[in-house]
Symmetry: C2
Subunit: 262 residues, 2 copies
DNA sequence: CGCCTTCTTGAGGGTTCTCAAAGTGGGTGG
DNA sequence: CCACCCACTTTGAGAACCCTCAAGAAGGCG
């Protein structure tokens, strides 16, 4: 139960400095993410970079946040990959969001601290637990930051809305193509790859939980995209052979990612 | 183009007073909605009730907000029913949210004024266009209101996430049952009916666009719920015969509507 | 009465699911 | 270094769910 919550196991000597470096790097990533959509002043940036937090390492396949948990911190992804999910009565799960380094995976817990969701580490994942008190204080003192955080929540909601139209109206192969397009842009914006060549460390079962299909059908959809000459995979690395064609199949328009600062 | 945007056509004499009454009533509904999830002070309440706005009537089946429109106001539903939707390349549509009186249908446009969505009037619908400037000023001056608005956006996102798991993991009949459960609670909370007896003025085609199925299949799913003795319909009025059984079919848990103030 | 939208029914086909089993590759212990 | 194990990927076959196309009822409105 608790052994997933130990701090930074594994690294021998430079635990403390490494911790600081990782925290800073994560806050810089988060700031960069906010910068993509909001115009922040220098003092706002300094305030964000000065946010406190506790660095925690989570093993793959373990819950970072359990469904129903009452939170007093928000979870900033430092490294790795995390999935927000909803659990159904029959035990099946549906992923509702994927979070990459620099994402505040449950920023929405700041105004709503009772989790209705869970967050799982898809691979080994380090997170920074940023206290709600610090984030709330920042938002109260600095309207610019309050708007930036609100806007970041809207980005999250915009992606949710797009996934709804994908699930409602597109075939499994189209949804997969759309998801690859989205993750390509997001990884590229975060400095973690190129939109046509990036590492997406998810199993096919995890992808299936995102796309609302079984792992068997996901596998067939994936083969369909490969057979059409749209993508190539090498282990967990994804190469998009023809970005334009993949986008056409997916009906992908990146505007919903809200990458133009207002 | 513009003829859907005329103010309050139809009513003969008491246009101005009616306009004021309707505006006040709508702001009171909105305040009530915020009250369900946030603790506001008296001065905050007065500030919300003093919000300015332009009252506009929209005919059924017309766009209240066109996809891609640049907005300088948010749309408060005064009466009627509205759907937020996403349009796909092939012309099909997917509804991503349903808004009832008292909902600020595009509150998210305050931090993100460029619409990636559209909003359609499902029946004749009056809205109050509340200027972004007024909402932003309120949020900047009053952190309590800023949090209440942010929290309201999170309620919207929580519903989006739940719809994703419904679309991904549930059958059409289960999704329909879930949608009926949700709308029952929302109408009841808004003082517009009881959870087991309310008027949902949507055509089956409109319901199908919500649930991501065709109108034909929606009709069959509806008949299935009727045949199971779960619901009864009389025109647009819906009566839930067995709330517990309907919830069991839908795997419905109302906590995602976030009705406990933090 | 006639027109229109909405609701309902039927039949055939495509997508996706379930169940089952075989192939692949990385890690671990002998 | 090899054998084994485990997680993951791939394949197959039949069934369930949902779609498409089409046409017939039912209800509101001029």
């Amino acid at each position: 139960m608790a052994d997933g919550m130990v701090e930074q196991t594994g690294q021998p000597a430079p635990a403390v400095t490494a911790r600081c470096d990782k925290s800073s790097a994560a806050l810089e990533r988060f700031l960069h993410r906010l910068d993509l959509r909001s115009r922040l002043g220098d003092s706002d940036r300094q305030a964000i970079l000065a946010l406190p937090g506790r660095l925690v390492a989570h093993d793959a396949h373990r819950d970072i946040v359990r469904p129903g948990q009452l939170l007093d911190y928000a979870t900033l992804i430092v490294s790795g990959l995390a999935a927000r999910f909803d659990r159904l009565a029959d035990g099946s799960r549906q992923t509702t969001a994927i979070h990459i380094p620099g994402d505040m995976a449950d920023l929405h817990s700041v105004p709503v601290p009772q989790a209705g969701w869970g967050i799982e580490a898809l691979i080994d994942t380090d997170v920074l637990e940023v206290p709600h008190t610090a984030l709330r204080a920042l938002a109260e003192e600095r309207p610019t930051i309050a708007f930036a955080l609100w806007r970041d929540s809207i980005v999250d909601a915009s992606i949710l809305a797009k996934w709804i139209s994908a699930l409602g109206r597109r075939s499994a192969a189209q949804r997969l193509a759309h998801f690859y397009c989205e993750m390509g842009i997001r990884f590229e914006q975060a400095g973690l790859g190129a939109r046509d060549d990036f590492v997406l460390p998810m199993t096919q079962m995890q992808l299936a939980e995102v796309l609302g299909v079984t792992a068997v059908h996901l596998n067939r959809s994936l083969q369909s995209l490969r057979a059409q000459g749209l993508i190539r995979t090498e282990g967990r690395r994804l190469q998009v052979i023809d970005v334009t064609a993949l986008r056409a199949v997916a009906d992908f328009d990146p505007r919903y990612l809200l990458l133009d600062p207002a």
